[in-house]
Amino acid sequence: MILQDGTFRQLRDFIYDKCGIYVPDTKKYLLEKKIGARVQARNLGSFEDYLVLARSAQSGDELSKLFDAVTTNETYFFRETQQFDVLLDNIVPAIIEKRPAKDIKIWSAACSSGEEPYTISLLLAEKKAGLRPEILASDISEEVLATARKAVFGSYSIRNVPPACLQKYFKDSGWAMELIPAIRAPVKFLNVNLIDDKKIRTIRDVDVIFCRNVLIYFDDKAKQKVVSNLYDSLRPGGYLFIGSSESLHNVTRAFRPLTYNKVVVYQKV
């Protein structure tokens, strides 16, 4: 089954309109492979039929699976740990200094199967600072959120978890490791499309946003939209972490870049 160039372009434009993710020509083969699996799963005869199906999808179900197909969801606990060190050593103390109730709201904006928000929850628990964290975790794919809610992880996901933490916060369920309820409790999952202003308007007064390795999927225009939406969700003075290989250059000036131990964090001005 071949994905014709014309159909590829239509699928690409459809995906871009719906979620701002831009699939370059060089990644056509990837789309062919991944959407091919959806075509098969839906007993369809061609990519053209799939395009009709996606366009007519009333529920978010098929769209969610389509977005899932065009993004990379493989991640792991303690990914880019230097950023978490800065969160714990610099950002959290700065926030709770002005907050007697010690409540803190953190948003993992593209949480995939949950490793990032659970890492944050685990680290805040380890810090033993009497914090009252609220951790929002969102993703465009309902399917990966369903996996995240289960909080059951294979060995790849937990490869960087220190053994002491592994013993303390995970339960060995034979085939996989299950996170204990105390770490799961502060994490709330939401299905959010980062270019959807309306949905993001419901997320307000966030202290810290993690939006790592996400902007790479967007073109300039969509990047500006996403970053603007994140800006609006932050409290004044709130912090934004993006991937260490990403930058907000020519995307926005609304954040002040701060550097801690070679880690760049963006603060809402």
């Binding site: 098969q40 005869g45 034979g174 300039d220 500006q224 603007s228 020519n250 926005t252 609304a254």
Partner: protein
């Protein structure tokens, strides 16, 4: 509230003391028209950067020639406004370019350069002759260089001679011309570029070597090789890199060391060139270093994929090398580097690697066990079936899946019992499905004898991938809808009278999804199409669409036919 009221309120709120309110107002004005332009341009100078950002995005959203016209004067303001103006004009794109034309005659050098840079970025304009004129005659060298760049981005071959003429300009413009000619791929420029290899300027000689490398042709490599003897060490290193880019194996004495240095110190683009060069040299000493670099990539990063693929393609050139086998087992190589080595050995069908792969199946690293299992299946390693059978019980689902798939591929009859037993305890659906597929590949008849003991997931997989006509006909009447659909799809691979008859009978089913699946199956067989024709009037749009597609293809041999073959991993 009326539209006029909303408009008035947004304008008022742009002056609010609260920056959040001003930002919302600036956002809201982006949904308006040209009347919002002046207030928004004013808001670009707001003391709050969040408001500035919103104003910029709104101006882009309004877009068009009028916005471009109103934004142009900002090019003469401070660095921030100038940059903002450039971002807005770039995003407005082609409607902005006619307005840039007068700026090409501006007295201010910077304005002419900004206009040329914008044209470069927009890659479109209706007055290339003006730009060619600037490339030849502008009094400012930076403007001439910018004009050269802009000309190359317009992609108009009739202006390439103008780019070649710029090779005779002063150094800075000449370098821009070299880059431009390499970008457009002007092979006619190679003799002129080759002459620059004798230039007294170090920078020009170096830039000419790089340009010849990017142009990549026999005459370019000949020119480079002719200059090896008189080149400086730095230039010789650049020549090595350029020859690799052209696809010529650099057989100079220092090539290995130069490429290793680039592999260690270069950026990712250079590392890629170095990898290609080292692989073309087939010097096995480079294998651990290549695996080290490729193994340091994070495969979950989308950008890593191309690099990993390039490394694997390069390593394939070494063939089934003992050094590659050793690297797969080496403790010195990063675990993802090992995975790459194993995948390459698998692609090469390297039977000599089997003892090492068998040993790796007992290791601690999941990715390595998984890759080894996959490789053993691909290498057709019958001597490794015991290890693969053991791996059916691996603690990691991915390893179990790889082992099960390998056993299916090897059609290991001795594994049938273990695999069947495994169905009773496997908790991951994808592994479960692969187990059923493996059992089908090993002994379909034996598996079908146990049909009554199996749940709907197994029956669905058998329906989709099985080949036994009787079983599929039975499953097409299964109580589970998913099983029925899969079996009907499966019948699309069996061109027998009973299969076609069953599919035709199903065209009258009350479930539209069942009717649709039967249509696609008949289309794949290229039979019973007359029975499909009445379904062009079906009440369900999807059924009608499938019927139209199938009849339009004329059935059989079309896309649907290919699909069924793709579904079967082992046949």
């Amino acid at each position: 509230m009326s539209e006029a009221d909303t408009w008035e309120r947004s304008l008022e709120e742009l002056n609010d003391t609260d920056p959040a309110v001003r930002r919302w107002a600036a956002e809201a004005l982006g949904e308006g028209d040209a009347r919002a332009l002046y207030p928004l341009i004013k808001a670009l100078k707001d003391p709050n950067t969040g408001v500035q950002d919103a104003a910029r995005r709104s101006l882009i959203a309004i877009g068009g020639e009028v916005t471009a016209y109103m934004t142009l004067p900002l090019l003469r303001e401070d660095a921030y406004l100038r940059n903002t103006s450039r971002i807005i004009l770039k995003q407005i794109g082609s409607p902005a370019t006619p307005l840039l034309r007068p700026l090409l005659k501006d007295k201010d050098d910077d304005i002419r350069i900004f206009a040329l840079d914008l044209i470069s970025e927009i890659r479109e304009c209706g007055f290339p002759e003006d730009i060619a004129g600037l490339a030849a005659r502008d009094p400012n060298a930076n403007a001439r260089a910018a004009a050269v760049r802009a000309l190359s981005r317009l992609g108009r071959a009739e202006y390439w001679p103008a780019l070649r003429d710029a090779l005779h300009d002063e150094e800075w413009v000449c370098i821009a011309a070299l880059e431009a000619l390499a970008d457009v791929g002007d092979h006619d420029a190679i003799p002129a570029i080759a002459e620059l290899l004798a230039s007294p300027s170090d920078m020009l000689r170096y830039a000419a070597i790089e340009a010849l490398g990017k142009l990549g042709s026999a005459s370019a490599s000949d020119a480079l090789l002719d200059n090896v003897a008189k080149a400086t060490p730095l230039e010789r290193a650049a020549i090595v890199k350029s020859l690799v880019q052209i696809g010529v194996t650099p057989e100079m004495g220092e090539a290995y060391d130069v490429l290793m240095e680039i592999l260690r110190e270069g950026d990712w683009e250079e590392k890629l060139v170095a990898m290609r060069g080292l692989c073309s040299l087939r010097d096995e000493r480079a294998i651990p270093a290549i695996l080290d670099v490729a193994g340091s990539l994070d495969p979950s990063e989308p950008d890593s994929e191309d690099l990993i693929t390039a490394a694997m393609e390069g390593l394939t050139q070494f063939g089934c090398s003992p050094a590659l086998v050793d690297a797969a087992a080496s403790l010195e190589v990063k675990h993802f580097g090992k995975v790459i080595a194993i995948d390459v050995l698998a692609a090469l069908g390297c039977r000599e690697a089997m003892p090492v792969l068998v040993g790796l199946m007992d290791g601690d690293l999941r990715e390595v066990r998984r890759a080894s299992a996959r490789a053993l299946g691909e290498i057709d390693g019958e001597g490794a079936t015991q290890q693969l059978r053991d791996a059916i019980d691996d603690r990691d689902g991915h390893v179990r899946r790889a082992a099960v798939m390998a056993l299916g591929r090897l059609r290991d009859a001795n594994a049938f019992g273990s695999l069947f037993e495994h169905l009773g305890c496997e908790r991951y659906r994808d592994v479960y499905e692969e187990t059923v597929k493996a059992l089908l590949a090993i002994d379909e008849c034996e598996l079908c004898r146990h049909l009554a003991e199996m749940g709907p997931v197994a029956r669905e997989v058998i329906g989709r991938f099985g080949r036994d006509e009787t079983t599929l006909l039975d499953l097409s009447r299964d109580e589970d809808r998913g099983v029925r659909l899969a079996a009907l799809a499966g019948l699309g691979k069996i061109p027998t009278g009973p299969a076609v008859a069953r599919l035709i009978a199903t065209l009258a089913d009350e479930d539209p999804e069942v009717r649709r699946t039967a249509i696609i199956a008949l289309g794949a067989l290229g039979q019973g199409l007359d029975a499909v024709r009445p379904l062009l009037e079906d009440p369900d749009i999807w059924v009608r669409m499938s019927a139209a597609t199938v009849l339009g293809l004329g059935g059989g041999g079309g896309e649907g036919g290919d699909e069924w073959d793709d579904n079967d991993p082992w046949r």
